[in-house]
Amino acid sequence: MKVINLHQEEHEIVKLAVENNRHAQQKIYSKFAPKMLSVCRQYVKDLQHAEDLMITAFMKVFANLKNFESKGSFEGWIRRIMVNECISFIRAQKKVNFLEDEYYKEDSFNNIESGLNVDDIQSVIDSLPDGYKMIFNLYAIEGYKHQEIGTMLGISEGTSKSQLCHARKMLQEQVLKLKNYSNGTD
């Protein structure tokens, strides 16, 4: 009953926000902005840039709110816009260069939890090159498939897989380095 009420409340707020009701727009922003800034921060190292991207993405959210069909999750819809905005930003900077590696070997990674806190996880992800970081975020965090990632980034499925493999390898090295550093063995 409580979930239904919350859903109806969200539906009403969205309805008002479509009509450019600034109070409803602010409610949506206040509710989702912290989470969406975290999403943008995954892709962009600089927090100020991440915030700029979030604001731009919220502009698109409110501009296209009338197209939201209320069938799926509203949060998921906003998150998708945020991710697309971040990808567009990174690609516009021309920092990304996806190289297809046909001879990559799928290593067996340690299937264990790292035990790092969220800040360390973010610092490990930040250490990745933009291409690796993008594909790792899309696959491991957002849950996209390689085919979808290939379509989004304009690369082949194999390239996405090889990039992910290299990203994981680098992450494992970084996690080990961080663990050793924290244990004082390095």
Binding site: N111, E113, I141
Partner: protein, 242 residues
Amino acid sequence: MGQTKSDKEFRNKLDQRKITPSENAWDRLDAMLTVAEGKKPKRSYGWLYIAASFLGFLLIGTVFFSNTEELIDVKRNDVVIENNTPDKPSENTATTDTVIPQAAAENIASADTAEIKIKSSIHHHQSPQSNPISNPVPAVNEIQKNPELIASGNPQRQQSGSAINQKTEQLTTPAKVDELLAAVAPTQNNQNQKTSVKVNAKSLLSQVDGEVNLSFREKMLRTVNRSYQEVAETVSNRNIQQ
């Protein structure tokens, strides 16, 4: 290669993370939204321009057609002016002040058909069909000059009218013309001396200067002047001959 435990760990921890935006983030977004909303009404300006231009054309059209109607009214007034020209109205011709332009003039003129026909035949006046507007003018001018011809109570008028009526059938013969004129001329001379009516077409037309189109006014002035001059000249010549 599916999701590893570390992937799930990363996802769970990152999903739970929340980063509070800066305080002015909403203000910036608010300003951007305001600007975006301010751009939308520009679309309606196009319709405003179209509506304004449509109204402009409508106004121009209204002014144009209203001017055309005024010109038509002016023409009608000119005809009335010609028929109301007598400066010294007679007893009965005072009724002609009511505006019955051509029909009334023709009715009056028909009573004096003899005189008019005589004068027109003698002086080889232009054919009536050639200038329908100026046609009543000579007749009216004659009437104005000779109000006694119209006055029904005047015995001379009756005598001369009866005499003319008797001779109406013989008007076409030039020999009878002199006799008819001889009968009419004394009365005309007397009345001309009494009335000495001089129709000043310019002064009459100047009364309606503001209403008359310049070109139309000139045309009408020429017509009235020409007719008046012809009638005056023929009458004076005939009187001199007599």
